[in-house]
Symmetry: C2
Subunit: 224 residues, 2 copies
């Protein structure tokens, strides 16, 4: 009656790495099952379809990450005065790094998967996350709003998506970037290092002064 955990686990483990490296659409079930050393039909038997396998791979991380983020967000929302932006962003670090307890290199793999999901199968992951975890993310938006009260809502919307893009792209091309950094600056880069480099960049970008045509001081077009 009890399902044999081993095969499902082997599939999930093999799938997540291949998905992270090659993308969802460009990874075939045959690659996955042969890496996992299980029969081709096992994916459809245990998960139903490739689509459901992708969801299972993501859910394994999203479930624990979102629960932890929810805690942190609620904690910060309970504070008397608004938290500063850097504090709000830094709240992601621990929950993300704790994904390493879900699986070896879990943080890196999850972030790469996130990158793949937002770019590969346009819209699906965005919808999925918003549908399942929208309530959690709303808390985050509220926190950022409190820490940047001068920022119009529409400007905040765009800047948060810019930030999502920064993270997601960086993680999707993580390997390439790490290789170049190593070659050009003999700099060993782990996922934690990248996150620490990302935070100041994101915080400054989100809190940047708002462009205004009536303020020539921050005019953006090159002078005529």
């Amino acid at each position: 009656m009890v399902a044999k955990q081993n095969t499902q686990q082997k599939i999930l483990d093999a799938a997540q790495s291949l998905f992270a490296e090659t993308g969802f659409n460009d990874t075939s079930l045959r690659q996955i099952t042969s890496a996992a050393e299980v029969n081709l039909a096992a994916v459809n038997y245990h998960f139903g379809s490739k689509k459901e396998l992708i969801q299972a791979v993501l859910q394994r991380y999203l479930r624990v990450l979102m629960a932890r983020l929810d805690q942190e967000f609620s904690r910060l929302l309970a504070a008397q005065q608004p938290n500063n932006l850097t504090q709000v962003l830094a709240v992601f670090v621990k929950p993300l790094l704790e994904l390493n307890s879900v699986h070896h290199n879990g943080t890196r793999i999850f972030l790469q998967l996130l990158g793949r999901g937002y770019t590969d199968v346009q819209g699906h992951l965005r919808w999925f996350i918003n549908h399942h975890y929208g309530r959690v993310l709303d808390k985050f938006v509220l926190l950022v709003q409190q820490s940047c009260p001068q920022l119009p809502a529409s400007e905040l919307f765009w800047r948060l998506h810019f930030s999502l893009g920064t993270v997601v792209f960086t993680m999707a091309s993580n390997e390439a970037l790490a290789e170049i950094a190593q070659a050009d600056f003999s700099e060993e880069v782990d996922i934690e290092g990248v996150i620490q480099r990302l935070l100041p960049y994101l915080a400054a970008g989100i809190a940047a002064p708002v462009y205004s045509r009536s303020n020539p001081q921050q005019q953006l077009r090159s002078g005529t």
Copy 2:
């Protein structure tokens, strides 16, 4: 002797839109040729292979963009004193918008293609651009370096790639973001508007204060 321009043009026009919307790998030659109303074999006859078609689609824009950027970069490099970062970044605006003369909606299409190229076929486009236009881009890096002399080279490397990620991801998900912005803020968004919103974000991110463990004022981890 002279090749019939019309078929090649029809293929390029149909291909660029489909590539931008669906990605390179997820767009089939049959979709392209039937949208272009030409025979399936025409792609291989005129371009050799799908890979070469992708390159041709990109090159149509890259050639004119890079030539224009090269001009602008050289102009700024000739200045006596270092240009400020916002001026350096703003230099992209005009050349990008001029891509609309290559093709209707050329700017949007090119930027979406760029997004696809950097995420779909991992590494290929990055290599291609560096190989063909590395000299031009080096000028840009030099300009940024001059405008942010306090920034270590390795930090600059990461932040420029963060910025690339911001742009590329924003453009790849351009349609989705524009739809949401319209729905939530009844805000009509064109490509120029997005670019104008991007610049302050990028400028602030690139010039952000460098994180340092010995400077507790900008400590990033949430307190224990």
